[in-house]
């Protein structure tokens, strides 16, 4: 083939238990991380301003980061310098979890009053605020969205394959595809924003593609199990790796440029697709092999 070859895993050498142990172990660790974080902080992942209320400002100023840190009546949660070609003195400042609506609205005025202007440019270049009650509403909506998407995807999977084990294998690995990036966010301190919710939903759609491909090759085609698997893998891994590459580039470039929405979509999809590679070809495959060789007979 080419420079980029899909590795051949010697599946016959491993038992189903061995294959499934890795992804299930990781899933358990991820769930442990999320519940630990839930017990410690009250939320499985850090929630951004979209879900807790607060503000995000993009400011252009010649003041130093230390000055920005102290310029506001509420201390910012994060200050990020934007590193894009031709852009200087731009920062993204985030405030999450502010209950007081009045305080949220005065943040941009404080920035304009306390910071040094950079030439003629306006100090507050971008302002995004959400009051606590609006954010609570958003949180509810987002949870509902994810739940509906997941249930819908599961129902469709069962409809497509009409057999229990292969369908539940897809649903289980899709679940793990969601949980692992969430745990990653919790550890890496990436807060949940509208962008990451979009990424998680996209992941539900994206990640089952390779599972459907695998199941289709194994169940709906004639031929040897391992041959079908290897063919599905060649296609599926190419697919996933292509998407991962695109998402990695988007994630890195967008976070340098300070475009938060694209950055979080890119990062989360990259992590989720990596998890999907493992879940599809270890977890889904082991369940499928069990079904094909042992489950069907009983």
């Amino acid at each position: 083939m080419g420079y980029f070859d899909v590795p051949d895993i010697q599946y016959p050498r491993y038992t189903n238990r061995q294959l499934a142990a890795v992804p299930l172990g990781l899933l358990a660790v991820a769930l442990l991380v999320l519940s630990g974080s839930f017990l410690l902080t009250g939320a499985p992942v850090p929630l951004g301003m979209d879900f807790t209320g607060g503000a995000e400002l993009t400011i252009q100023t010649t003041s130093s980061e230390a000055q920005i840190q102290t310029a506001f009546s509420v201390e910012p949660d994060s200050i990020q310098r934007i590193q894009a070609p031709g852009v200087d003195n731009q920062y993204t400042v985030q405030f999450a979890g502010i209950e007081d609506d009045e305080a949220i609205q005065t943040l941009s005025e404080q920035a304009a009053a306390e910071l040094e202007q950079d030439g003629n440019a306006e100090i507050v270049q971008q302002e995004s605020t959400a009051s606590a009650s609006f954010a609570a509403q958003t949180q509810q909506t987002a949870l509902l969205g994810i739940a509906v998407a997941f249930v819908g995807m599961s129902a469709l999977t069962f409809l497509l394959f009409r057999t229990f084990v292969p369908s539940i294998a897809i649903v289980l690995s899709a679940f793990s595809d969601l949980v692992i990036p969430l745990a990653f966010m919790s550890i890496a301190g990436i807060s949940l924003s509208l962008g990451t919710v979009a990424a998680l939903l996209m992941l539900i759609g994206y990640s089952v593609d390779s599972d459907i491909l695998l199941n289709n090759h194994v169940l709906r085609r004639s031929g040897d199990f391992y041959e079908s698997t290897s063919r599905a893998m060649t296609t599926g891994v190419t697919m996933t790796v292509t998407s991962m590459a695109a998402m990695l580039v988007m994630g890195i470039v967008a976070s340098l440029f300070g475009i938060e929405l694209l950055a979080s979509i890119g990062t989360i999809l990259f992590v989720g697709l990596a998890a999907d590679l493992m879940n599809t070809y270890l977890l889904n495959l082991s369940l499928l092999r069990w079904y094909k060789f042992e489950g069907v007979r009983s």
Binding site: Y3, V87, V124, G152, G205, I212, T242, A245, A246, V249
Partner: protein, 550 residues
């Protein structure tokens, strides 16, 4: 290759369809607006310090950009208020119940209304203030003789109220001289509604100012009550005016004013707003002893002092319970009113201290009062400066291009056969072009979330093309049309299934109101549909032509 045109179309319909859609998209993207040089891009990359130039909509495409890519502000907030639905009342009770609400709850006339809904023949009562609790509202209705409990009181206002608010806000945005504004409502999960106002080229402070004014204009007569004291009587409300002219300036007097005309169409009792105003002025003495007798307003200091020794006859201009201006009756206007001829041509000038006051007053009079105030304790704001928006435009283009290059790189590395890889990239890109054309056609404003959607579309698109390519090329060469067709349809099952899951996963986002994300979901879903129906079959056609021996 056949020379018969019908056979040609039959064989290449997939590719022909793609070309047709592409051509259509390109026309929608470029033609109607003409092709203009886009220098905003070069400006931004070259010199960012002076990037404050607002490029507006003048790109070389017909695409429209949203707040995030064009600059502007969006404010979402619900209406303040409570509603009791399906009141059991008769036609003639409507006004009585309204007055009971005003007195029982001790609120302004504008803060309560009883509506009749013609469509489904029902009555609703609404209160538009935070100062009344549900229990108080219910007990006020009980004292009006209605069987209403606290549980019947719902949060939120009726659709009619929201429609009126949206109309008023639209008028205000247009009055402020800004085009491209957009006002709409968005439903939330728990059945509430947000009113969303988007205005390009306005700062959050300006837009909040525009939205937070209730805009309830009244003319109040401040006059002696005959017992040695002064009293207030509201003589004109903002629905008494029939015509409002733009604000003007009187060079001679040095005053800013809004020329208005009072409605003189006669009601069923033979009186009009103008004639009632005229007779009130005569009755209170404004047109006789009161002419020129108003000294409460110190115009130089901009202050009002109602503690005066002499009797006062003042016309107060009151907006949202705040006195904007106080002035006396002029002799000319007073004379016309006294003789009763004024009502035939009922115009006068509303004088205000500053030009800005005149502007606000004119906007408020034109648009009428906001039926219910917006609840800013539940608001969400998003705003971008035009300079940063331009920067985002350039960057998102750059990110898009980089993602496409990355995808192309991986695909070339994997297949190393340009016959397979090149059409793959071209097909995936044409999907984006068709989508952009569609966006330009329906004038969908492109925002950052849409850009994410475009990139996702390239991603899923290429994924599916990989499935087609691998399937078609499996087991050696494709020797005949039949072999190709059978392999292609096998691949298509997987693609269809994958597309269906993506559409299902993203459809909640397309329906729910999650701010920015709707655009992302809509573009991705559309992209998947265009992909499955048009571009992916076409790729199959191209691949067949390239791989089969003809």
């Amino acid at each position: 290759m056949s020379t018969n045109p019908i056979a040609f179309v039959k064989e290449y319909w997939r590719v022909i369809l793609l070309v047709a859609f592409l051509a259509f998209a390109l026309v929608a993207l470029f033609i109607p607006g003409g092709i203009m040089a886009d220098d905003s891009l070069a400006d931004n990359l070259g010199d960012n310090e002076t990037a404050a130039n607002q490029s507006g909509d003048e790109g070389f495409t017909n695409l429209e950009y949203g707040i995030g890519l064009d600059g502007g502000t969006r404010v979402s907030a619900p209406a303040t208020g409570m509603t009791v639905d399906e009141l059991d009342i008769d036609d003639n009770e409507q006004r009585d119940i309204e007055s009971t609400l005003y007195t029982e709850l001790d609120i302004e006339r504008s803060d309560a209304t009883v509506r009749y809904h013609e469509n489904d023949d029902r009555y609703t009562a609404e209160v538009f203030t935070e100062n009344v609790t549900a229990a108080e509202f219910a007990s006020a209705l009980q004292s009006a003789g209605l069987d209403v409990t606290e549980d019947d009181v719902e949060n939120g206002v009726t659709q009619e109220t929201r429609d009126e608010m949206i109309n008023t806000i639209e008028l205000r945005v247009n009055e402020a001289g800004l085009s491209g504004g957009n006002v709409y409502q968005e439903a939330t999960v728990d059945g509430g509604y947000y009113i969303v106002t988007e205005v390009p080229g306005m700062s959050p402070e300006e837009l909040r100012g525009l939205l937070s004014d209730r805009g309830d204009v009244q003319i109040v007569a401040y006059h002696p009550d005959g017992n040695g004291n002064q009293t207030n009587d509201t003589v004109l409300n903002d629905d008494d005016f029939s015509d409002i002219s733009p604000p003007a300036f009187d060079e001679q007097e040095g005053t800013h004013y809004v020329p208005v005309t009072v409605d003189n169409t006669e009601g069923s009792d033979g009186n009009s707003a103008a004639s009632e105003f005229q007779s009130a002025m005569n009755e209170y003495g404004f047109t006789s002893e009161g002419i020129g007798q108003c000294s409460v307003h110190d115009r130089d200091a901009g202050e009002f002092n109602f503690d005066q020794d002499q009797q006062q006859w003042c016309m107060l201009t009151v907006v949202d319970d705040e006195i904007i201006d106080a002035h006396s009756m002029g002799s000319g206007l007073g004379g016309d009113m006294e003789s009763g001829t004024w009502a035939n041509d009922p115009g006068f000038r509303m004088i205000v201290p500053t030009q800005q006051d005149a502007q606000y007053l004119s906007v408020n009079l034109q648009s009428g009062a906001l039926t219910a105030p917006l609840d800013f304790s539940q608001e969400q704001t998003y705003s971008t400066e035009p300079a940063l928006a331009d920067q985002f435009k350039t960057f998102s283009l750059l990110i898009g291009v980089l993602s496409v290059i990355t995808v192309s790189g991986v695909v070339f590395l994997r297949y190393r056969d340009p016959r397979v890889a090149a059409p793959m990239i071209v097909t995936a890109l044409s999907e984006v072009v068709i989508l952009l054309g569609f966006a330009a056609l329906i004038r969908m404003p492109i925002d950052l979330s849409h850009v994410a959607g475009f990139i996702a579309v390239v991603g899923t698109g290429v994924d599916d093309l990989i499935i087609i390519a691998d399937e078609v090329m499996s087991d050696g060469d494709v020797s005949s049309h039949r072999v190709f067709e059978s392999r292609f349809s096998k691949a298509f099952w997987v693609i269809g299934a994958a597309a269906a899951t993506t559409v299902i996963a993203l459809s909640p986002l397309a329906v729910l109101s999650l701010g920015d994300l709707r655009g992302f979901a809509i573009i991705t879903i559309l992209g998947v549909l265009i992909g499955v129906l048009i571009t992916r079959p076409a790729y199959g056609g191209i691949l067949e032509r390239l791989l089969t021996d003809k």
